[in-house]
């Protein structure tokens, strides 16, 4: 387990354990504490893999339900967040394998070209920001699950390469190449360049 995933759970470890003990003792309503405490972080991770709000909500609910039904087998030393993270992450990855892509690359060329403008004034910045988010969201749906996950771990969780390698059970070299490929692919999609083209011009936007 990485330091990053331990995160807040170290300070909450005892209270998490108390809540779990209460749940196992029949106080089912106490589980609400754990749901409230971790649903935001879990949702962020799941959304960072599936990039669909309705789909993410279903997965988060299912993850908490499965975790509750397995509370008796929970190993305290791993921390509840690490545990629920694993359950939700596996559900999200599995769901991607069962779903068809939201867009094809050909459709994306059209989608991104319609949003290529610039030079908006202050009044348009909020709309521009939302449009950029939507472009990134659509581009992310075209990445493979492992590329979505590594971007989440690096850009959102802020993990070091060593932490990512432990989390994804791969070598440091794989982390470097996978992260680089994921970023380049995202840039290519956002720039409307064909996959595999080497970087001319600007990589962002």
């Amino acid at each position: 387990m990485t330091d990053r995933l331990k995160g807040t759970e170290e300070q909450d470890q005892e209270s998490d354990a108390e809540v779990i003990a209460a749940c196992l003792g029949g106080e089912v309503d106490r589980y609400r504490v754990l749901v409230s405490r971790y649903k935001g972080r879990v949702y962020g991770m799941v959304y960072g893999i599936v990039f669909d709000h309705g789909h993410a909500e279903d997965i988060v609910q299912e993850a908490f339900i499965r975790a509750f039904r397995s509370l008796g087998g929970f190993r305290k030393q791993s921390g509840f967040y690490t545990w629920i993270y694993r359950i939700a992450r596996n559900l999200a990855i599995d769901s991607l394998r069962r779903r068809r892509p939201e867009f094809s690359l050909e459709e994306n060329l059209e989608i991104f070209s319609s949003a290529a403008g610039g030079g908006l004034g202050p009044a348009g910045r909020e709309a521009e920001r939302e449009e950029l988010h939507e472009q990134v969201r659509k581009a992310m749906t075209l990445l493979k699950p492992e590329h979505r996950e590594i971007l989440f771990l690096r850009e959102w969780e802020g993990m070091s390469y060593r932490e990512i390698s432990e989390n994804m059970h791969c070598s440091l070299g794989t982390v470097m190449s996978r992260l680089h490929y994921a970023r380049r692919r995202l840039s290519e999609l956002l720039e409307r360049r064909p996959a595999g083209a080497k970087g001319k011009g600007r990589g962002g936007r």
């Binding site: 935001g40 959304y47 988010h133 690096r154 840039s187 990589g203």
Partner: protein, 148 residues
């Protein structure tokens, strides 16, 4: 870093280079507009990505009960309820058959056997214990208890 290398820009951006390599990249960046643009673009891209995830997390945090309501509905309802039809008359005789049967669904560890009754049948099914009690008077009780 004598030539442009995107991989090194990523390592630099992520703080994964040792001080010597870091200095080389910074030296290269001072003289290479293309790599400076690439670094700036990577930062913009990461900012946009984080903004997208942050908005999702914020929405989830603000929606206080949506996840809990669905979770509570699932974990509070009894699992694996099955409708089991038993021919009480075959087990308990004519007198018991004349009486209505009460079926109890019980959580693990709940309840005690009916008072002043005798156990006339006990079955095990996956996930449940089924016991039929015949009281001296009143209802025959079919006790369906979820296993802990």
């Amino acid at each position: 870093m004598p030539v442009c290398k995107e991989e090194l820009i990523d390592l630099y951006l992520d703080g994964e280079l040792d001080p010597g390599a870091c200095g080389e990249v910074e030296e290269h960046l001072r003289g290479c507009a293309r790599c400076r643009d690439l670094l700036a673009a990577r930062k913009r891209q990461a900012d946009a990505y984080r903004g997208l995830i942050a908005a999702a997390v914020e929405a989830a945090e603000e929606d206080a009960d949506s996840v809990w309501d669905a979770v509570a509905e699932a974990i509070c309802r009894p699992r694996r309820i099955r409708i089991i039809r038993l021919r009480v008359a075959a087990w308990a005789g004519a007198a018991a058959a004349a009486a209505a049967a009460a079926v109890l669904l019980l959580h693990p560890g709940a309840g005690t056997p009916p008072a002043s009754s005798s156990k006339i049948l006990s079955l095990n099914s996956p996930g449940h214990d089924i016991t039929i009690y015949q009281p001296q008077t009143g209802f025959t009780v079919v006790w369906l208890q979820e296993q802990s």
